[in-house]
Amino acid sequence: MPRTPSRPLARPLSNPLGIAAALAGAVAAAAVAQPAQAQEGQERCYGITRAGENLCENAFQGHSCAGQATQDFHGGDWVLVPAGTCEEMQGALEPYDGINDTPPA
């Protein structure tokens, strides 16, 4: 999305004339603007194409997840602590502790 011009205008928005003028100005400005392709500062989300899939195969993998699940489950007294590090990064990235900051009081 294009950057918002930071010019506060004291335009009288409470009357129809102001609305029409703003709209006409926007139509003229937008007509010559570039479409929203790869704007600077825009976040684009990839990697969600597998979102929410129903599969008919079995998720059960050929290793010890059965035993692990049993432990997770019947223990009941484990303490949950958010890790706050990128352990999924397969070592390709540096440890990241940015979001593990002490939250605001």
Partner: protein, 265 residues
């Protein structure tokens, strides 16, 4: 009998006592309990896997172990009530907000809300955005009473925390970008999928109020008033320009036009 089978297996699969189901299952060398375990793991791991795929930023923030444990509790409390996993996980943000172990990360629920919005936007209906020429040459009264439809993929997520910055810093497909100041001012995010990809843009409070009013079917003059109330510096022309270029609007009508769009994730 079939009722009893399905009730007991459901209990065994989602965190309950498996004894009743085990008693119904024939075992031999491999015990009944272990046979049922195959289905229990299928059910739990597949649903947790769906949440992990749909909330990658939330997962990266808390780590895989925490996420899996939290997601499992969520699956027990909120199993999908429709067999469509494209729509699963919408209640996870509220669940996180009330999940005591996540309390040290007060922004986590809003980050998850942003991810839920991304998922909703991705699978939302397609529409052709309005072009500037579609709105050219309107009379004063017509312009003031104009009702715009938002693109069906538009979602707005507001938070007292810097959720877009947190999202950007914790994308699984990107390198770490350094520390994030979680005490920085809150951010409101416009989520949309105008072209093939979902995009996230920070918007100001005036713009958020404006789009929310437009989405509620309010005419431009009312939406502009709501925006000015939220932010006295709101610039209608700048906002309209932005959204015409972005493709935020996808239809027109006039006051009373029966449409109302829910922009919540």
């Amino acid at each position: 009998m079939l009722r009893e089978v399905q009730r007991s297996v459901r209990t065994a699969l989602l965190g309950g006592d498996p004894a009743a189901a085990e008693a119904l299952v024939a075992g031999n060398a491999v015990a009944a309990a272990e046979r049922l375990l195959v289905h229990r793991n299928n059910a739990q791991l597949s649903l947790i896997g769906v949440l992990a795929a749909d909330f990658p930023v939330t997962r990266r923030i808390v780590g895989a172990d925490f996420f899996t444990a939290m997601a499992r509790q969520f699956v027990f409390a909120h199993p999908p009530l429709r067999p469509e996993l494209l729509a699963y996980g919408g209640e996870l943000p509220d669940f996180i907000a009330g999940f005591p172990p996540a309390r040290p990360l007060p922004y986590l629920a809003d980050v998850a809300r942003l991810e839920a919005a991304v998922k909703g936007s991705y699978f939302a209906a397609d529409a052709v955005s309005l072009r500037p020429a579609d709105l050219a040459g309107l009379q004063d009264e017509v312009a003031a009473e104009l009702v715009l439809a938002l693109h069906p993929s538009v979602r707005i997520v507001a938070s007292p925390f810097p959720i877009l910055t947190l999202h950007r810093a914790n994308r699984a497909d990107r390198a770490a970008v350094g520390r994030v100041d979680t005490t920085a001012p809150g951010e409101t995010v416009l989520v949309s999928r105008i072209a093939a990809e979902v995009t996230l843009d920070a918007i100001g409070p005036g713009d958020a109020a404006f789009l929310t009013a437009v989405g509620a079917g309010r005419p431009l003059i009312d939406a502009a008033a709501a925006a000015c109330l939220a932010d006295p510096a709101f610039d209608l022309q700048a906002s309209l320009t932005l959204h015409l270029v972005h493709g935020t609007f996808a239809g027109t009508g006039s006051r009373g036009w029966p449409h109302r769009q829910d922009l919540s994730p």
